[in-house]
Symmetry: C2
Subunit: 280 residues, 2 copies
């Protein structure tokens, strides 16, 4: 009985702690992005989910960031029958709780990479796990930037487990792969899911470090490239690459699917889509 | 033995006849669209499918038609294990043969509806069936145009079976529904699939009439509206609606899925995507 109480208290605290961290990280990211942009300001919009929970979108349309969405959400309830088959543990107990922060930035300049970042804590029945990742999507890959981006996430991984970076960067390449075009979405980063080492504090600390790594990795790449000029042809190339990005998110992305399957907010889920894209 | 021979001869002729009709219809549609446009010309491009068959894309970028693709294809081979579960008859015999014509037009003017049309003849194992349909996608629905479009397909349906129009127009509304936005894609038309009355000639004649109905239905709507001027706000609205159109095709469309699942040509499959779209 005491153990059960402790466990329940433990899970409640875990949920609260994770959700608070995602919010803190959201605030830090938004502040940094407003600093970089110099003109745009994030607009906030909350939404409630039928069945439990909700979220808060933050979107900025600025001078450097053409459209960036930084969303947090905490949702809970019962998984649909169809979705129960797809998630570990859901066949035994279809109750779920999920909290996360999710970000996609589409930049004005074709010389500044688009980027995606997400971390989440998910509870289904008695199982709990962390997931997340970040991937860089340059229109014109620059070796130095790619290595810098990977390096920051490698540092975060290495602090926790020397096997993480190899595993999670490969997972990223495998996951962000547009099958019908036979091309990777971008130049990778890291991706992890179902992370449960049995030590919640350890996994949470790793997830926090992944968030901090994002803040170290992306802003310098933006600052380095944001003042370069570009040609109309480069812009066209960017808009075509964005078309492929939209394809990936609508056809393959697990987060989009999780959102649709759990009755999430469509506007928040599709915040990731580019402000303008071309299939010429 | 004689019966078997006759059957085999019959199916071969059916396949050939259907494929030839789709090509004839493609030619007629392309000719009519070039007439309307006055400037653009269709460009042809053939492709071969690994495993059997191939197709021919026709795409025009013109003054009236911003981007229109009219594709024909005839493909055959063995269905993937995953896809076998989804198609009738495939569990018994995974051999398939499919031929069709498929068209999507995205127009320069926000006052001219986008349109989709497709008809196909599919053989899986011993089962054969026709499918197809057309739906009108105006940015600003005009009652008169919607009724005109539906009227032409109703005529085609009524010639063959008095129950078809009610059934197939409802099917169209149900099928072209964007669930995550809780909105219909356009203003409907007809949609039918798995059509096999047991009388091939009857079903083929119906499918031909659906093709002819398209040629009677869409061109007059284009001609009526193509010379209207539009505002920048109307264009923006068009680009947002196109975003929803892209979502439907990538998330829900059965043809896109059939193409991806059977190793079709990505360029041909995604010809349906809009030349430019916005998610502002």
């Amino acid at each position: 009985m005491e153990t059960l109480k402790k466990q329940k208290f433990g899970i409640k605290t875990q949920k609260q702690t994770a959700a608070e961290w995602f919010k803190t990280l959201r605030n830090n990211i938004c502040a940094e992005f407003e600093n970089i942009d110099g003109e745009g300001k994030f607009e906030r919009k909350t939404w409630l989910r039928d069945g439990g929970g909700g979220g808060e979108m933050s979107v900025m349309r600025g001078k450097v960031f053409e459209k960036v969405g930084v969303n947090i959400s905490t949702v809970y309830g019962t998984l649909s029958e169809q979705f129960q088959k797809e998630l570990p543990g859901a066949d035994k107990d279809p109750n779920f709780w999920a909290s996360g922060v999710s970000l996609v930035a589409h930049m004005q300049s074709p010389h500044v990479p688009a980027v995606h970042f997400n971390t989440r804590f998910i509870c289904v029945g008695e199982k709990t796990w962390f997931g997340g990742g970040a991937d860089l999507n340059p229109m014109y890959p620059v070796k130095e930037d790619t290595e810098f981006f990977h390096g920051k996430f490698k540092n975060a991984c290495d602090k926790h487990d020397s096997a993480y970076y190899e595993k999670f960067s490969k997972w990223c390449d495998d996951y962000f792969f547009n099958k019908h075009r036979n091309e990777t979405r971008g130049v990778g980063g890291i991706f992890y899911d179902y992370l449960d080492t049995g030590n919640w504090i350890f996994d949470f600390a790793f997830t926090q470090d992944v968030g901090r790594a994002f803040l170290e990795a992306f802003p310098p790449i933006v600052r380095k490239n944001m003042n370069k000029t570009w040609t109309e042809a480069e812009r066209e190339h960017q808009l075509k690459k964005r078309g492929h990005y939209a394809e990936f998110n609508l056809v393959y992305d697990r987060g989009t699917r999780f959102g649709f399957m759990t009755g999430g907010n469509t506007e928040a889920i599709l915040m990731s889509l580019p402000p303008v894209a071309k299939w010429p």
